[in-house]
């Protein structure tokens, strides 16, 4: 394939206009020793050839559409309404850059303003930016924000926070000399304890990685008693039915938006969201859209509060983030609008209902629940063999099984199971039959 339009005559005309003899002559500034290296990649294919090649690769995967999925742990397979993809992947959204020229970017800017409003609605907090990369980096940005705000450099993180988020947090904090301390669990619930006065933030996930709904009110109160900020890592779908971060006075809410409208995409792209109380607004990282008026008094939207950002503040910026995950945030906003509060509540409720059916089935085949207290739609069971083995055996029987629970939790072999509104009783029956063969 090629996407360059010039005819030989065009090239000749252009070269004459520039006043050089050849295209190669335009590269004379390159040191001769390194010019035109041999690059060992296969010759290009025509479009049909490319499609056949890609089809071949796709055929080596077992899609979530092709087998029931009980996978969670930060991403899940939910239903994508047809209108959501049709509207998101309109080429004027897909092929635009960051809205630097607001007069010709009102579609994107207004959509991001609406997205920010929806994140504020879900979390109950005042202010949202227009997206970050993912849930993990959102947690890291939230911790850095809390450190800036409090002038403290130790962060307390519950072991119930997604292990990959904690690993990411470690990476971001270590290099600036900040300290990370774990809040331990009892069963699968975070132990609430007095917080030391040098703590910048306490980070708790609700529901946590092991499924448990945490006592967020008590944990937040402990943090606030010590002058620390309370950061809630939340599943945005759960917020249709589970208490909102504002209801336990969280200062910052973050999370991954995949579960509300993005495909799982083998882990990305989805998007990270961050919402804060108004007092923290000027500490936020990333792009923010605000409403204003044009010279004729018409309502319009612009990128705003840019004095926080790298292109203005350089080394003193709140973050280095430039490109964000706008298209995924847009997809999520369209999804949330398609469902509305009632639809979202139904999705959340059905997910929770099906998770109970799944749990009792798993218990019936002898797998004991390890998750303590109440859970939303994901929970952990004890397994008689390594979770990887069970997952593999299940996949051979056409079921996407469970997420292996890391050994750090001290459960030995254990798997995290999830249900969604797509989980049917017959999916669960298929899982049960497969498990009876495997266990």
């Amino acid at each position: 394939m090629k996407y360059t339009p010039h005819t030989p005559e065009d090239v000749k005309h252009i070269l004459e206009t520039i006043g050089v003899a050849s295209v190669d002559a335009l590269f004379d500034d390159l040191p001769e020793a390194i010019r035109n290296p041999k690059i060992d990649i296969p010759a290009g294919l025509d479009e049909h050839g490319v499609l056949e090649h890609m089809k071949g690769l796709a055929a080596k995967n077992l899609s979530l559409e092709a087998a029931p999925s009980f996978l969670g742990g930060g991403m899940r397979h939910h239903f994508q309404p047809s209108a959501v993809n049709a509207l998101t992947f309109q080429s004027s959204f897909v092929t635009a850059y960051t809205p630097y020229q607001p007069e010709v970017s009102q579609g994107e800017l207004q959509a991001m303003f609406e997205y920010q409003s929806m994140i504020a609605a879900l979390t109950g907090l005042d202010i949202s930016n227009s997206s970050l990369y993912d849930g993990a980096t959102a947690v890291a940005e939230a911790a850095l924000l809390a450190m800036r705000q409090t002038n403290r450099s130790t962060v307390l993180v519950s072991r119930g926070v997604h292990p990959e988020y904690r690993e990411t947090l470690t990476t971001f904090l270590e290099c600036v000399g900040a300290k990370l301390v774990n809040l331990e669990l009892e069963g699968t619930i975070t132990i609430s304890q007095a917080v030391e006065p040098d703590i910048a933030a306490v980070i708790v996930q609700n529901p946590n990685f092991l499924g448990s709904l945490e006592d967020m009110k008590v944990l937040a109160a402990r943090a606030h008693e010590a002058g620390a900020l309370f950061i809630a890592v939340v599943d945005p779908l759960s917020l249709a039915v589970v208490q909102a971060p504002s209801e336990y006075s969280a200062d910052i809410a973050v999370g991954d938006g995949q579960v509300v409208g993005n495909a799982a995409n083998f882990g990305g792209p989805a998007y990270g969201f961050i919402a804060v109380k108004e007092a923290l607004m000027r500490q936020l990282p990333g792009r923010i859209v605000g409403a204003t008026k044009d010279v004729d008094g018409k309502r319009g939207f612009v990128l705003t509060l840019q004095a926080r950002e790298q292109h203005i503040r350089r080394a003193k910026a709140k973050s280095n983030i430039c490109s964000n995950h706008a298209l995924m945030a847009l997809q999520s906003a369209i999804y949330l609008s398609a469902l509305g509060p009632n639809g979202l509540r139904e999705v959340a409720t059905v997910s929770a209902v099906m998770a109970r059916e799944l749990e009792s089935t798993l218990n019936r085949v002898g797998l004991k629940t390890l998750t303590t207290g109440k859970y939303f739609n994901e929970f952990v069971v004890k397994l008689p063999k390594p979770a990887e083995e069970i997952r593999q055996a299940l996949s051979k029987k056409g079921v996407h099984g469970c997420v292996p629970v890391p050994l750090e939790y001290g459960f030995g072999n254990a798997g995290l199971f999830a249900a969604t509104e797509l989980t049917t009783s017959s999916d669960i029956a298929k899982l049960e039959a497969a498990l009876k063969n495997i266990l």
Binding site: I18, G19, G74, L87, V94, A121, V242, G267, L336, G340
Partner: protein
């Protein structure tokens, strides 16, 4: 409300929230009937329940479609408009990429790797291809964007010095003053001090100033080549030799790689680390701000520090490898912006080595053509020399770049990048890319000339442009002074 205000409200494109009506339904989710009569208190515990309202919009599916179709029509984009936004490489994003990517969306990061062999094979081969293209020994595909790639790369340099017991001493990262803002911001985020080096009158880094700044406290030099002025750093081999002699790592900001694919490799120039913006050079669409994708390539001495996991091959199967004791750790969840990696992979398969070489050649050809056209119609170019894939121009004295950008909007052309890099006042950075035709570029030059002539005859016309866009110049000062960042706030106002 008085009549004037009412008329204005009608002219405003409604917010989705303003289309909302309590009780109206759009999409009904699967198994919705199962939600009826459920006692959530029993299920989730009374203390865990949400008691506050959930003020999301309530609209019908047609309302939804009208709304987002309407918004889509209030946008410029590459598919609809010439978009010579310098440094952003707004080339055509092939449709075949989108079709192919659609076959890979329904995969879960934690599904059994044996059921994701096609995905892992694709990632393995893409990393190999990018290594070939950049001249690097190993590549991680995880970073979500250019800035995230910078962070990943600089952290690897950090770990490398830590492993050699030199971290205490290596405090400084050097960037040119023309560098993109993410470079100094990244260095600071990774715990380094930033020193900025000026450029010279030829638009290159001031070699003497750079040399003077080099000493054993320097950890890394971050360069873009061609640099942010679109000019190739001709003394790059000398710079890399100097750096090497002092053990300093050379970082390549790959935002401008579209100039050199197949023509030269950063690895051969002596760079130790590179990030690529696949959303620039490798046709991943920009999505109105993202998601991007910023893979990082490194030379062998930095390979042990790659973020986890990496994709490994054993015999004919592919797996994720987590056990990497010297790794910088994780920089994000899961394995990268996979959906975008599929698009970039599709593009590389489509073009092959020869096509990629041709693409960069034509990108540079087009940018030089427009530079000469700009000079002919009365703009100055910042450095009077052959440029690479982009160039910087300035308007005649007394005229403002911003005004030209606004005037272009009425002609259906997206403006070039304005006021970047900061080192040239009134800078207009123009990057046509290789996918634009002679006719498109000629029209652009004609339009620029017309704007110039009209502005000379009537300066006020220029200062008040645009006239025909859905909104006209917006009050950005008011937006920042009294931030209205949500519908909730706006509707209370």
């Amino acid at each position: 409300m008085n009549a004037v205000l009412e008329k204005q409200a009608i002219n405003d494109f409604p917010l989705i929230f303003e289309r909302s009506k309590t009780g109206r339904r759009g999409v009904i989710p699967p198994q919705a009937a199962k939600a009826k009569g459920v006692n959530l208190e029993d299920l989730l515990g009374a203390d865990n329940l949400r008691t506050s309202s959930l003020p999301l919009p309530e609209v019908s599916e047609l309302d939804l479609v009208r709304h987002y179709t309407g918004l889509a029509n209030r946008q410029m984009s590459v598919d609809a408009n010439f978009y010579p936004l310098g440094s952003c490489t707004m080339k055509y994003n092939p449709k075949v990429n989108e079709v192919a990517a659609g076959w890979f969306t329904s995969l879960h990061p934690y599904q059994d790797p044996n059921t994701a062999q096609g995905a892992l094979e694709l990632l393995f081969n893409l990393a190999k291809d990018l290594g070939q293209i950049t001249g690097m020994d190993a590549v991680t595909l995880q970073p979500a964007a250019g800035a995230h790639g910078e962070f990943t790369g600089i952290l690897m340099i950090r770990k490398y010095f830590e492993s050699r017991g030199e971290l205490e001493q290596r405090r400084v990262v050097i960037c040119p003053d023309a560098a993109h803002g993410t470079n100094p911001a990244t260095a600071a985020m990774a715990g380094f001090d930033v020193v900025e080096i000026p450029g010279n009158e030829r638009g290159e880094v001031d070699f003497a100033a750079l040399e003077a700044a080099l000493n054993p406290s320097v950890a890394a030099i971050m360069l873009t080549n061609p640099n942010t002025l679109g000019i190739f750093e001709t003394r790059i081999l000398e710079i890399s030799a100097k750096a090497k002699a002092l053990g300093i790592q050379l970082y390549y900001d790959g935002a401008n790689t579209n100039a050199i694919v197949g023509r030269a490799r950063p690895g051969d120039m002596g760079f130790d680390v590179i990030h690529l913006n696949l959303h620039k050079t490798f046709t991943v669409p920009h999505g109105g701000g993202g998601p991007g994708t910023g893979p990082v390539g490194v030379k062998a001495h930095l390979e042990p520090f790659l973020p986890t996991p990496i994709i490994a091959r054993s015999d004919n199967s592919f797996k994720l490898e987590f056990d990497r004791p010297q790794s910088i750790g994780r920089v994000r969840s899961f394995y990268g912006n996979f959906g975008n990696l599929v698009r970039a992979y599709t593009y590389i398969r489509s073009l092959g080595a020869e096509g990629l070489h041709d693409a960069s050649s034509m990108a540079v050809l087009n940018a030089n053509y427009l530079r000469v056209k700009f000079q002919k119609i009365g703009f100055e170019t910042a450095y009077n020399r052959v440029n690479m894939h982009e160039f910087v121009a300035v308007p005649p004295k007394g005229m403002k770049t911003l005004d030209f950008a606004k005037a272009l909007l009425d002609y259906g052309i997206h403006p070039m990048t304005v006021y970047f890099p900061l080192v040239v006042s009134e800078s207009m950075m123009v990057e046509p890319t290789e996918t634009e035709s002679l006719e498109t570029m000629d029209r652009f030059a004609d339009v620029m000339q017309e704007i110039l002539l009209k502005a000379k005859a009537n300066p006020s016309w220029l200062e008040h442009a645009p006239y025909n866009t859905v909104v006209r110049r917006l009050d950005e000062v008011a937006a920042a002074k009294k931030p209205m960042l949500t519908f909730q706030k706006l509707s209370r106002n």
